[in-house]
Subunit: 452 residues, 2 copies
């Protein structure tokens, strides 16, 4: 038979078992945290009508999208989880309770140019709170609190959620007299980290037409140092002159002041007036998240407040606030940076039962008993030499081997071997289960991420 | 702005929140059971090169597949999880330990004719054990044991995993002297349940050319009644005359005799000589699973033993055994048949914190404390009337409300309201957490499926 060469497409992450188990642990931690904060799961189709998915139309998105026909239908794969959410809420508004708080963890597809660390298929893990008509500003504090908890649960501690407010930006630039060029000025300032202060000034002068005083004001603003309280005080001093700025500062203060009571550590958030995010979409609070020991990673979790989730589908005003983690890229970067904790178990099971006799009925009973106690157990029944069986267990990193020979069967017991210490003891299957579960509990304190 | 009508494609399941939570519970129970038996998770891409996915080529599959071009690439969405597994194992053989036991729960896509209960996007939940060169027959007992445990965990008890062996079928028909027509005869017998005995006899005579003695023998075989032991005895009596039959009976007996020690209840499995399954693929043990109180559902979980998983990709012999659940269809049918337990909680959270004061800092602290104890908690901060807040909690089926007014703040306590009994008590946030967790534990005995 002629063979087809097996291959996986480039830009598509496909992991070996140990890495897959780490990835699943990352996804599970996000899911559990989102649920702890009372977000409800949503699972929209991967395929939507192209017309629905591209309602907003235009731009980079349209070029990257996987679009195709099936019969008469013009279809496309989802390229994010926000557009499907908008469709879902517009479609099911009458059946939903608002605020509608949903999380969705799922794959999205973008036909980007293939390059290292860029994925064409990747997981996003989103949370959003959607209001019907209006939505309280406290939600803008809760959303980053969820993300802070998720990162902490994963073992990442040196992160900072940087928070800004688009109204603060807009209002301040109105004050500077560059209201008509707010968009260009913000877009330029958004590049501050990428291209540096000097280049930004140049563009502000030559392309945006700002005079020296305006540039000075803009730079004073975006390079403002000091504590969050200092920054808020600087803004409040100027807020009397501009209603938009005043509103933005009130919102920003509310969010910043609420975070500690929501359990977020002081070092994990900060006002950052340089953050603007995409210009078309966000209207209030905006977030980016930096890993401080690895700034080169970029923002691992971003989002913000928007006035109108579903304006392409409905006249109903549906304001919302959300954040999104690009999980596949995050996992890739954590691996590349050596930030995954090697001590986390990556075996497919906790214990492997190795029968040394031809009759495997007793061994099967032992496996059943271990599973009844909640020990993830593999029953190994291949006809191999003892050494090969142990090598199999060792290669997979299985922490315990349960050895069943004639002696054990005669005694109605098992031999339990701790694969890391090499220690071997005879006991009942029930006691073996207890020992395994105790041992695993001691190891479960290990977190997925280890920051060096 | 002109609006696009929001819609979800037909044949694509998209659930409202309460149903989604039930569906997630179904998926979680499968995942947990698969892991309890030591299966390792796998997550292959949704998109593969069409050449790779269609290596086997031809047939119904090719017509149903979602296939499209992106740039120069001829791509397709996976239509099952077996072909991607074959590709994965062929590609990564050197890095894997055998037997390789993997589970995969993921969406697959087939552009089937849209009709009620037929889905174009659906979850499959597969387990397979793959050997390198050979694979012990005990695996053929363990795979259905996993599925039996999964169904039991979900609350489904009146199911029967029907087990047969293709070698038994093949050997027996060789004995009858219809070896050259085994394929047609098996295909005809496979229709027994659908078209009845009489029609089957007619086809066996007219189309397969069997004489009356051969038809009699075929019918005696497929209508054999009695216990599993009786059926095995019937087969063993004849097995001396045909080596293939003898091997099949030995395998079938091993599987049937191992199931009780693997924890499968007597009433949950049976020898069924009428099961043949697809003819190209399976070579030994075959399985189908019936829900006895609802035979109209059809097989909810099927599979079998195959000699050669990846023959389109590699010369290496990779035998395997596996079973698959069509989860989306199963969930749809359970819903339609009213088999989902109404007592299972479907709220997005365990407790909702309702601040009655303008300052929400104390309430936020309470929510944080509840979450610290593992209570899934929503903090509700919208400016609404008390009645509206309670209606929100009630509509979502949230079991506990934690009410925070001036009195509670002054006392450093909370008022905890059991939403089903209406009982309200004053206590500390920590004690509220304890009460909620106790109450939930009592309700967690409820299983997802309730067979009437």
């Amino acid at each position: 038979m002629e063979k087809v060469t097996p291959r996986t497409l480039s830009g598509f992450m496909e992991l070996l078992p140990a890495q897959q188990i780490r990835m699943n642990r990352l996804l599970a931690a996000l899911r559990e945290t989102y649920e702890l904060y009372g977000f409800t799961p949503l699972d929209t189709p991967a395929i939507e009508a192209a017309e629905v998915l591209l309602a907003k139309g235009g731009g980079e998105t349209e070029k990257q999208i996987y679009r195709f026909n099936k019969g008469d239908s013009d279809l496309a794969l989802r390229f994010d989880l926000t557009v499907p959410l908008a469709k879902y809420v517009a479609l099911n508004r009458a059946a939903l309770s608002f605020p509608f708080r949903r999380y969705q963890i799922g794959k999205v597809w973008r036909g980007e140019r293939a390059q290292r660390g860029r994925f064409r298929e990747f997981y996003q893990a989103d949370i959003d709170v959607i209001g019907d008509g209006k939505l309280d500003i406290m939600n803008d504090a809760e959303v980053p609190a969820v993300m802070a908890r998720a990162f902490t649960a994963l073992g990442l501690t040196d992160f900072t959620i940087r928070i800004n407010n688009r109204k603060v930006l807009g209002g301040y630039f109105e004050l500077l007299g560059v209201r008509d060029r707010t968009t260009e000025v913000l877009r330029t300032i958004d590049k501050l980290e990428k291209i540096g202060v000097e280049k930004v000034c140049e563009i502000l002068k030559d392309e945006c037409g700002l005079d020296d005083i305006q540039i000075g004001g803009a730079l004073e603003f975006v390079t403002l140092s000091g504590s969050d309280a200092d920054k808020l005080a600087f803004l409040e001093e100027r807020a009397g002159e501009n209603e938009r700025l005043a509103e933005g500062v009130r919102e920003l203060r509310t969010v910043i002041e609420a975070l500690p009571s929501l359990g977020v550590a002081k070092e994990n958030f900060a006002v950052d007036l340089t953050i603007a995010r995409g210009l078309d979409y966000y209207t209030g609070t905006v977030y980016e998240t930096a890993v401080n020991s690895h700034p080169e990673i970029g923002s691992v979790c971003s989002g913000g407040r928007y006035d109108n989730l579903a304006e392409y589908y409905t006249d109903r005003q549906l304001p919302g606030v959300g954040m999104s983690i690009g999980v596949t890229r995050l996992f890739y970067v954590l691996t590349e940076q050596g930030m995954l904790n090697e001590n986390v178990l990556t075996a497919p099971c906790d214990a492997i039962v190795l029968p040394m006799t031809e009759d495997t009925a007793y061994a099967a009973g032992v496996a059943t008993e271990l599973r009844r106690h909640g020990v993830c157990t593999q029953l190994y029944t291949e006809q191999r030499k003892f050494k090969q069986k142990m090598a199999y267990a060792s290669n997979l990193g299985i922490p315990y081997a349960v050895i069943i020979g004639d002696d054990e069967i005669a005694a109605g017991e098992v031999s339990l071997k701790d694969m890391s210490s090499g220690e071997q003891t005879r006991c009942s299957a029930e006691n073996a289960a207890r020992t395994v579960l105790e041992g695993l509990k001691a190891r479960s304190v290990e977190k997925l991420i280890k920051v060096n």
